[in-house]
Assembly symmetry: C2
C-alpha cells in the first residue's frame, strides 16, 4: 500500500505521521513544492519583527528526521502539477509520475493577487511563506522603507502592522470592509481601532484596495484563498466556501482521496455549517484524521468552534464561535453582553479585561465570545470555546467552577460576570 501526501506543512505531516503510527508497513511519501519542510509559518511575523533571528528557528522537524524516526519520505522541491486519479498517479513538475493507493491533498492556501493591479511590483510582499518573509526582510534591510501600507485587517494584517511598527515604520492598514478580524462586530472594531490609534498605527476602514496603494512598502494580508486548483482539476468537489468539501473523516468525493488543512473546509460546531477558517491547529487535527483514515482507521474530526487569537502591540484579542452579527446572519435570535472587569485584585496588579458573550434567546445556548486585554485572554477564550464545543447554555456557563486565588483572578471572574449579565437578559 502506498500513501502519497501533497504538501509538507501542518496538515500533510500530521497526516503522514498519523498514518505511520497506525500502519508500520505503509509506504509513505510526502511531496513538497518548496525547499522548506515542517516550519511554523505563524512565526513569520516575528521574524520580520526581529524576535526570531533566523528562519531555521521555525523549523520543527527536518526531512531527515521524518526519514529516520518515522520512515516517511519527504521530498522537498517536488511540485505535484497534476493528479490522475483514474491511474492513481500524481504527476510532478519534472514529468515524473508517482503511483498511490491512497492520496491526501494538503495544498494549503495562498494569496490570489490576480485581481490586484500592481501586485507584482518589487516593493509589494506577502508574508505567508519562508521565501516571501526572507525577501521582505532583505528589502527592509537594504531599502529602509519609511512608510508601509498593509492590505487587510485580519490577524496577519495586525501582526504585520506590529512587526513593522516595531521596526520604526509608519504603518497604515487598509481594510476593505467596515470591520476587523472578519467578525462584522462594531464593538470589536471600535476596541481594535482605538488600540491601533494609541499605537500610532493608522486603520482605514471601508478602504477596498482596487490597486496597490502608494507607499514605500506594501504587505498583502488579504485575498487569502484555499489552494484548490490541483484538486479541482482532478475532479475533487469544492464546497460553498470555495474550499475542498470533505466528510468528517476528511474524505473527498473521490474514493481513497482525502483532503485536510487550509485547502479544505470544516464543520463549524456552532452554526453546523461548513466553514473555511485556515489555521495551523485545525490543519493538524484534520491531517491526523485524514492520515488515520487513509491507514484504515475510522476517525472523525467533528469541527471547530472558530477560535482565534492575535496579539497586536501588547493587546490580546481572542475570538470564538460567532459574533452577534454573524449569529443573526445564521438565523439565531442572538443577544450579547459586553463587560469590562479586572482580571485580578489591585494588589496583584489587576488589569481590565473586556468580555463579550453572545447567546441564542430561544434556547439560551452560548454562541460565541470575545476576550480582549493585555493578559488572561488565551485561557478565557479557551474556556468559552470548550463551552461552545459542548453546547452549553449561558445559565450553565454561569455556574462554571473556575479557579480562584488572588495571584490569578478575582472571586468573580470576568467570564462569570459576563455570563451572569447574559443569563439575566435571557430570563
Amino acid at each position: 500500500m502506498r500513501l502519497v501526501v501533497i504538501g509538507a506543512e501542518a496538515a500533510g505531516l500530521s497526516a503522514a505521521s498519523a498514518a505511520r503510527r497506525l500502519d508500520p508497513s505503509l509506504d509513505i511519501t510526502v511531496f513538497e513544492k518548496t525547499p522548506h519542510v515542517s516550519y511554523g509559518a505563524c512565526g513569520l511575523p516575528y521574524f520580520i519583527e526581529g524576535r526570531v533571528r533566523s528562519l531555521d528557528e521555525l523549523t520543527v522537524y527536518s526531512a531527515e528526521y521524518f526519514a529516520r524516526e518515522r520512515n516517511i519520505t519527504v521530498r522537498a522541491n517536488s511540485e505535484v502539477v497534476a493528479i490522475s486519479h483514474p491511474r492513481r498517479e500524481v504527476i510532478l513538475s519534472t514529468g515524473g509520475r508517482e503511483r498511490y493507493d491512497k492520496l491526501i491533498v494538503t495544498t494549503g492556501a495562498r494569496r490570489d493577487l490576480s485581481a490586484l493591479p500592481g501586485a507584482d511590483q518589487p516593493h509589494v510582499f506577502t508574508m505567508d511563506t519562508w521565501a516571501a518573509a526572507e525577501r521582505l526582510k532583505q528589502f527592509l534591510a537594504s531599502r529602509r522603507p519609511r512608510r508601509a501600507a498593509i492590505l487587510g485587517a485580519g490577524y496577519l494584517g495586525l501582526e504585520a502592522a506590529e512587526a513593522l511598527r516595531t521596526q520604526g515604520l509608519e504603518v497604515t492598514i487598509h481594510q476593505k470592509t467596515g470591520d476587523v478580524l472578519r467578525r462584522r462586530d462594531p464593538w470589536l472594531t471600535r476596541l481594535v481601532a482605538d488600540h491601533l490609534e494609541r499605537c500610532r498605527i493608522r486603520l482605514l476602514l471601508d478602504s477596498p484596495a482596487v490597486s496597490v496603494p502608494d507607499s514605500d512598502l506594501v504587505i498583502i494580508a488579504c485575498l487569502y484563498r484555499p489552494n484548490t486548483l490541483l484538486a479541482a482539476e482532478a475532479g475533487i468537489e469544492i464546497g460553498r466556501t470555495g474550499a475542498l468539501r470533505v466528510t468528517p473523516r476528511m474524505e473527498t468525493n473521490l474514493h481513497s482521496v482525502y483532503a485536510a488543512g487550509d485547502c479544505a473546509e470544516t464543520n463549524h460546531l456552532v452554526s453546523g455549517k461548513p466553514v473555511w477558517m485556515p489555521l495551523g491547529t485545525t490543519a493538524g487535527k484534520m491531517g491526523r484524521a485524514a492520515g488515520a483514515n487513509a491507514a484504515g482507521a475510522r476517525q472523525s474530526f467533528p469541527g471547530i468552534t472558530g477560535t482565534s487569537i492575535v496579539r497586536v502591540c501588547g493587546l490580546g484579542i481572542g475570538l470564538t464561535g460567532l459574533s452577534e452579527q454573524q449569529a443573526k446572519k445564521e438565523g439565531f435570535d442572538a443577544v450579547s453582553v459586553r463587560i469590562e472587569a479586572r482580571d485580578r485584585p489591585r494588589y496583584f496588579q489587576g488589569v481590565p479585561v473586556s468580555v463579550q458573550l453572545t447567546a441564542d434567546r430561544r434556547t439560551g445556548r452560548l454562541l460565541g465570545g470575545a476576550v480582549i486585554g493585555e493578559r488572561g485572554v488565551d485561557g478565557r477564550i479557551n474556556v468559552i470555546s470548550t463551552a461552545l464545543a459542548s453546547r452549553m447554555t449561558a445559565a450553565e456557563f454561569e455556574t462554571l467552577d473556575l479557579a480562584y486565588a488572588p495571584p490569578f483572578s478575582n472571586v468573580w471572574d470576568p467570564l462569570l460576570i459576563g455570563a451572569r449579565q447574559l443569563a439575566k437578559l435571557l430570563h
Copy 2:
C-alpha cells in the same frame, strides 16, 4: 416578609443581594458576629507577606454600602447564638430576638483546635480571619520570630509558607498525611515537594501534629471544619461530609431555612456525591441560589468540579475534578497521563507546563486534571473544569479548538498533547 441571613461574607452577602434583586420589598437583615463585613479573606496571606498594606484594602463593600445601595441592613458585631425555628426567631448574644420568615445560614468554617494541645499559646496563630491576621502581623513585627512551623499542606499552608519565607523566616510545613493539597496524588506531592525544597521550605510528610511543634511561630492551616454548631442545635441536618446538608436549591431539612457557603456541602459534578470543599467562589454561587430561592425564585446550583488553584513561590498549581487515586476510590476505572510541554515557542520564552489528565477507562469520560507551571495554569485548569462540567470524554477533549498564536501558545497546547496520550491509552 423578613429575611434574616447569618454571616456577612461571600455566601451571606451574595444571598442577601440576590434576594434583594428579586424582591425590592423584602426586609433583609444580615447578622455578622465580627466587626468586619465583606472582606476577601483569601487576601490575608498577602497581608502577611506585605503585598497588601492594610486590611482595609481587602474590604469589598461596607455595611453603609449595603444599606444605601441595596437597602440591606448589615449588623456587624451581632452574634447569633441560637435559632428558634418553631418561633421563627434568631437569638443574639445580647439576648435580643429577631423574627424571620426566611432564614439563610452562612456560618462558614473554622479551625477546630480542641484536639490540639498547646494551640492556645501566644505564638500559635490561624490565618483565617481579619483579627487573626492582624495579631499575626503584630507578632511578626514585635517578636521577629526566626523559625515558623506550619501545620497543614493544603492551599492555605502553602500560601502561609510563601508569605513567611518572603519575610525571611525558616519555614517547616508539617503535613499529617503523605500527600499535599488533599489529592492523594504521589506525582503531585513529588512536584510540590521538589519545588518547596528549591524554595528552601521544609516539607515533612506523614507528620501528624499531636501537639504544637517547637518553633518561634506556629500557623495552624489544618483542622478546618464547617461551622455547624448553631445550625445543628436548631435541628438542621448534617450530611456525611460533616457540613450542612442542602438540596440543589440550598434548602435545609427545615422549611424556609437555607444554608450556603463554607458551612454547607455541595454536589461534586464528577463523583455525583456530596462534598465539602469550602471556597469563596462556590460560597458566592451557593449564596446567590439560596437568596434567590428565599425570595421566591426556583434556582438551582448544580455543584462544583472541585477546582482550586494556589501559587507558591512562583509556581502555580491548578487542580480540578478527581485525582487518579480519588477517582479509584469513587469506583472509577481511572487511568492518567502526565506530560510536560512548553507553553509557547522558545522565541516567546516558553516555559514548561506539567499537565495531568485522568479519565475513566470504561466510558472514556474525563475525570480530573492538574496543571502546574510558572504560567498558563489558571486558563488551562479552567478549560479542564469546563470539560468536566459538560462530561466530556478524553476523545472529545482532544479535538478542542484552543486558541493558537505564538505570543500565547504552541500549535499543540500541552492540554491537547496530554489529551492525545490519554485517548491513546483508552483505545
